[in-house]
Symmetry: C2
Subunit: 288 residues, 2 copies
Amino acid sequence: MEIISDIKEMQKRSYGLREKGHRIGFVPTMGFLHRGHSSLMEKAREENDALVVSIFVNPTQFGPGEDYEAYPRDVEKDQALCQKVGTDLLFSPSPSGMYPSGFGTAVSVSGITEGLCGASRPGHFDGVCTVVAKLLNIVCPHRAYFGLKDYQQFQVVRRMARDLDIDTEIVGLPTVREPDGLAMSSRNAYLTPGERKAALTLFQALQWARKMVEGGILEAGTIEERVREMILSTNGASIDYVSVVDAEELSPVKIIRDRALLALAVRLGKARLIDNIILEAGNRQSNG
Amino acid sequence: MEIISDIKEMQKRSYGLREKGHRIGFVPTMGFLHRGHSSLMEKAREENDALVVSIFVNPTQFGPGEDYEAYPRDVEKDQALCQKVGTDLLFSPSPSGMYPSGFGTAVSVSGITEGLCGASRPGHFDGVCTVVAKLLNIVCPHRAYFGLKDYQQFQVVRRMARDLDIDTEIVGLPTVREPDGLAMSSRNAYLTPGERKAALTLFQALQWARKMVEGGILEAGTIEERVREMILSTNGASIDYVSVVDAEELSPVKIIRDRALLALAVRLGKARLIDNIILEAGNRQSNG
């Protein structure tokens, strides 16, 4: 495994791989890697000739007062994991390399960025779109892999790549969970033991919502209300949002007909955790 | 010469050329081609293995009430010119291909887009940046060529390509002029014979400004004022802007020290014409 921090060097290597006809799989990350990331990396390893992983804690997708400074980092452990899964190139640029003096370009997606995390984290998806556009231009991958725990991010990035004719297939893979159901997240590191127990409320609420739909409750408002009640009964938990939306357009739905997404964001101590589930009328569900 | 309208097909051909190690030169245009365009195409032909020209009248860079519908078009003449200069691939996408249903992504550049045409045409440069980002992703050129008549556009596109790590060198080439000095522009087609004569005021004003600087007048305000007076003394001419700005950052300057840009936009009948000149303290000048 080779570690590259220079942007031009990374780009040169990517075009070199493309010229040799190699297919590039790419997993962009902010580091502090866990099994969610390694599931993406393993799939990318399997489906492509070369595996590129990036580690970059992107300052522009954190809002004022968010956890950019505190975001957990563990370079050595991350490198060991990348090595283990067969990463060819680990791209690890610096903030000043990515955002040089005079930087002034933004990529933004309208519509599907308005609700959910877009509403509670203004500017977040502009930061995500801009850095992902840059990374895709640098790494030139044939496929880029994103976890569906960040479902809205996946849809936003997919829309951005389609709209800008970026020649990369955006692949979304299922959320990886702890044995008790908590979605893997670097931010789980913020949780105290008590909060870690309380955090299970997210998964339990999603499961409960699935049961409601299986039981024929299809009114989004009813599901949202009961999920909110369940979460608020958990010690220390406060709600950022609980929303049932169309699974493609992420616009609010009143009745679950086709595929809907139940997405939620919950604060527990220092952590803001998100999770989601696809709800399908007719007892079917997926992405759990 | 081959004409391609399908985006995926164009992209496939571009990556095919890159995989063969061919260097791609690209000239993006809105058609109604003139000698300004052919100078770009000839340079691109000379400096690269393959020449790609695009013709696309981009609706999103026209504001409400601007001349999108009326913008002059002559497909046959354009194709003949492209053929003549040795174009390999003429890319001619449809508006619905470029902006499919649900399109919602914008690329924007701050700072250098705020003055000059950016101030008088709100949203114009967002439209330019977005379509150029798309075209660069589709054509994947090693070099893309822009005329310096649209000086701000050149600087904005260069900034955008740098900021998004687009692997394309953005090349600016000098303004091509009619024998009497009028800058070549597709929009010159709007001019009546009387307006065509009056339009010479733009070039004359730029030349006069150059003389002023050569004569030691370095105060931007004085130059702007005299240029305005000269243009306003021309029958039927009204001023959109006359501005002396820093040639790189496009921010206003008070005294011409290093390289400054005198840029102007003038309305004559249905036409809005732009032109510019680089002014350098110490009797030197260029880009005339």
